[in-house]
């Protein structure tokens, strides 16, 4: 379990905090979505929840990060790395740059955990299969398309099998099928007991895989609750967050003043 207790975080040299009094709980097997407009603090929250800020990023933090109820402050970055995995929006930041093939890239993490060779191979094969990228195994990571790199970066994370996953817009560059594969993989991981925090602009994806959604605005929690309720909240638009396509479609039908019977027809078809 991961918890943030009243976290305020300020980057080094910044005039204002990027996170203000944020509290958040991530239970075992729970998928929590993080929405919010650009620069509302989503990426910063991902860095704090994974322990990278302030450890490697610098800055000052007040409040506490708790792992299974214990204060994470005394833990060093390598101790956190085995427990919390983070994926960044830009896969170029994530890839090791030292591997000549996708296979080596994905095996890089488990090898660095010092796992036995057989275990590394099993985990790498599993991660490739989960995201259906076996065909890329012998390709050079730098020569893949942006979306393919994103899948490889996520596969590298899956191979570490962390109990907690923090994902910052993991499907930003993926085609709809790639997004689906990532969504399916995350759902399976959560079923297996992993806790997942996922920041996304694509609220359709959040609606599908999250139990709860937190919306940030200007570094503070603006909305929080069950995914279906938060994503249908009329205040979302004022917070510059696009509602899922089905919510927007139903809303547009109301605005267009279609006859009630047609609106009912539409609602039925949207839901099916």
């Amino acid at each position: 379990m991961l918890a943030l207790e009243s976290v305020t975080y300020r980057y080094a040299g910044a005039l204002r905090p990027s996170l203000r009094e944020v509290s958040l709980t991530l239970s075992e097997g729970e998928v929590v979505g993080l929405a919010g407009p650009s620069e509302s603090g989503k990426t910063t929250l991902c860095l704090v929840a994974s322990g990278l800020a302030p450890r490697t990023v610098g800055g000052t933090l007040t409040g506490r990060l708790l792992l299974d109820g214990d204060d994470a402050a005394p833990l060093a970055i390598h101790q956190l790395a085995g427990r919390i995995g983070i994926a960044f929006a830009n896969p170029a930041t994530q890839l090791s740059g030292v591997a000549d093939t996708v296979y080596e890239e994905i095996a890089f993490g488990p090898m660095n955990l010092g796992l036995p060779r057989d275990d590394v191979i099993r985990r790498t094969d599993d991660a490739l299969a989960t995201l259906r990228i076996e065909a890329l195994a012998s390709r050079h990571p730098a020569r893949l398309s942006g979306g393919q790199q994103q899948l490889v970066a996520i596969a590298g994370l899956l191979a570490l099998r962390p109990e907690l996953l923090v994902l910052d817009e993991p499907t930003a560059q993926l085609d709809p099928a790639g997004s689906r594969m990532v969504a399916d993989a995350l759902a399976r991981l959560a079923d297996g007991g992993a806790s997942i925090l996922i920041a996304e602009q694509k609220t359709d994806l959040l609606a599908e895989i999250c139990r709860r959604v937190v919306v940030l605005a200007d570094g503070a929690v603006a909305l929080e609750g069950p995914a279906a309720e938060v994503l249908a909240d009329p205040r979302l638009e004022a917070l510059r967050v696009a509602a899922p396509a089905d919510v927007r479609l139903s809303r547009a039908a109301d605005v267009a003043r279609l006859p009630a019977a047609q609106r009912e027809r539409l609602r039925g078809a949207v839901g099916s």
Partner: protein, 277 residues
């Protein structure tokens, strides 16, 4: 805007092979985009979309086949020469950004395509205003978040005032306001008669903003038509074969037997029409 009119873009049987023959990223692709066309390029990851657009400004050269810009073979022109006609915004802004301030970043490209000093200021201010970064002109680009860095990369290319604009996934990572800025850029381009080619995975954005949609798969062009044609139920099998899903409005329209309704507006109009009968 400059008086330069948009050149026709033409790919003739272009094949591009990466990695000593291991990967055929473009496989005998022919495509003509007329002046002022606004074209979306869709397809699964790795289908050749980015490879295709990088041929338009000479960043990549065909392994075989020809690229013609304004009727001239691009093989005879340098990237710098082609950049006066074709402005390309990368998917990843960090491949593009290097300057110490937002303003100098935007000025750099415009200066390099030979924009006159007198016009430079207006071009830079205009581009910054279009993407909503006017108040951040003195900021270091790396103090901007990822989505605003992406808008900065877009502004740098807008300031070059090229008659052809190529955008690689412009709405990725943008919030409602950012997507609105990108829509504004497309609107301005249409009004100026400029050509736009944009790669996108956002089918709703594609169906709403583009008159022509080109579907790629395995380095080839699989379909080419209006959104109503490409997103019509008869085309879904092909879309799904390349791992794309039609927009929700199209799926709902089909469930209700309303024909091809690629956009929310088309769907609501069809529903209103059905109610009137």
């Amino acid at each position: 805007m400059t008086g330069r009119s948009a050149p026709e873009l033409r790919l003739e049987s272009v094949t591009h092979v990466y990695q000593q023959g291991a990967v055929r990223a473009l496989d005998d692709v022919s495509l003509t985009v007329g002046p002022g066309e606004v074209v979306a390029l869709i397809g699964q990851n790795g289908s050749g979309k980015t490879t295709l657009v990088r041929h338009l400004n000479g960043l990549l050269r065909p392994t075989s086949g020809r690229v013609l810009v304004g009727g001239q073979d691009a093989a005879g022109r340098t990237v710098a020469q082609l950049a006066r006609d074709v402005g390309l915004v990368f998917q990843d802004p960090d491949r593009q950004i290097f300057a110490g301030s937002v303003r100098s970043e935007v000025e750099f490209g415009a200066l390099n395509v030979g924009l006159h000093r007198d016009l430079l200021r207006a071009a830079v201010e205009g581009a910054l205003a279009t993407v909503g970064l006017a108040d951040a002109a003195r900021t270091n680009p790396y103090d901007l978040g990822g989505s605003r860095r992406k808008l900065l990369a877009l502004a740098s290319v807008l300031a070059m005032q090229t008659p052809v604009l190529v955008l690689d996934e412009p709405t990725t990572g943008q919030d409602v306001a950012g997507v609105g800025r990108v829509r504004g850029v497309l609107r301005d381009a249409r009004a100026a008669g400029h050509t736009v080619i944009a790669i996108s995975h956002d089918m709703e954005f594609v169906a709403t903003e583009f008159a022509r949609v080109v579907v790629m798969g395995g380095g080839r062009i699989l379909a080419d038509g209006t959104p109503a044609e490409v997103f019509a139920p008869s085309g879904w099998e092909l879309l799904r074969s390349t791992y794309l899903e039609p927009p929700l409005a199209a799926q709902v329209g089909d469930r209700l037997g309303l024909g091809s309704t690629p956009t929310q507006a088309a769907l609501l109009a069809a529903l209103a029409g059905a109610a009137a009968q």
